[in-house]
Amino acid sequence: MKSIEPARIQQLLDQLKGQEVYIHLEMTTGAYAAHRGEAKLAATAFITNATVTYSQGLIAGDGPYRVGLKTAHGWVFAQGLTHWDETETSRLIAAGHDPDGKLVVALQIAQEPFSSHEED
């Protein structure tokens, strides 16, 4: 994981637009947040391998970054993105990590479904 380079993210967003893509979108405080007293509410939402087609995808901000994808009937939005996997050339793997390195938000876009149990 590297700190986000917005120009390269933009390049990937352009590359993946106008076709059906699989997205993973996630936001979480962690299941233990309330148990540990870090937050009053432990909340998580994710959608994995939803298919969308976006006509425009932009990265915005000075870091942490925001990404918005405009779809035929609405939007996909993520805020707080700090890191990305710079080794990926055909899909976007981005996430926002808090100062402890914990994942808070994730946005991933690919032409193929994400597998949660890829063989090594």
Partner: protein, 212 residues
Amino acid sequence: MDPKQILVVLAHPDDEGIIGGTLMEHAQQGAKITYICLTLGEMGRNMGKPPFATRVSLPMIRRQELKEACQLIGIQDVREFGLHDKMVEFEDQEAVADRVREVIEEVKPDLIYTFYPGHGVHPDHDACGAITIRAVAKLPADKRPVTRCIAMTPGSYAVLGQPDFVNDVSDIVDLKIQAIGAHKTQFQLMLGNYSQETKDRHRHERLWVYRF
């Protein structure tokens, strides 16, 4: 009791560290341990500090960490059930319980470790405990292995009473902490800075026997 065959049913790689000392003692006494790990913890928030894992690479990394931790503890047989992290409670509970029962029938444990249903804090832990209890309850009463449960809720003593089993693992606590530390992505979460306080916290393992 001197168990020969033990079955551990937990939800995530690193859950075994909670009872790592107890499992090490069983292994040292010659017990064979089978560990059903329901998920790969692929939705975990800890990605290393600084983050080195991604949502995509995390499951493979955690699989490797699990392997190393199990080697240190002395768990010879790990069964990945391949359920999706955080989704255990949304699976067909009966179907998963049947898979657990099949393993029980195969390895014939005389002792089972799992989470106490309702006292796991994490929904996957609660579902894991409930599934295991459901699987054991399917067996005739005289064939049910003793089932020891981990309770993590702050109110567990008030609801469940004193634990049936308090194991002082002080003499192997360093090795236990090493096994926990094999989960490098989770290391920060589990141990913080390895201090005297960390060590003290890991000296005692508490378990409640489930009464069917």
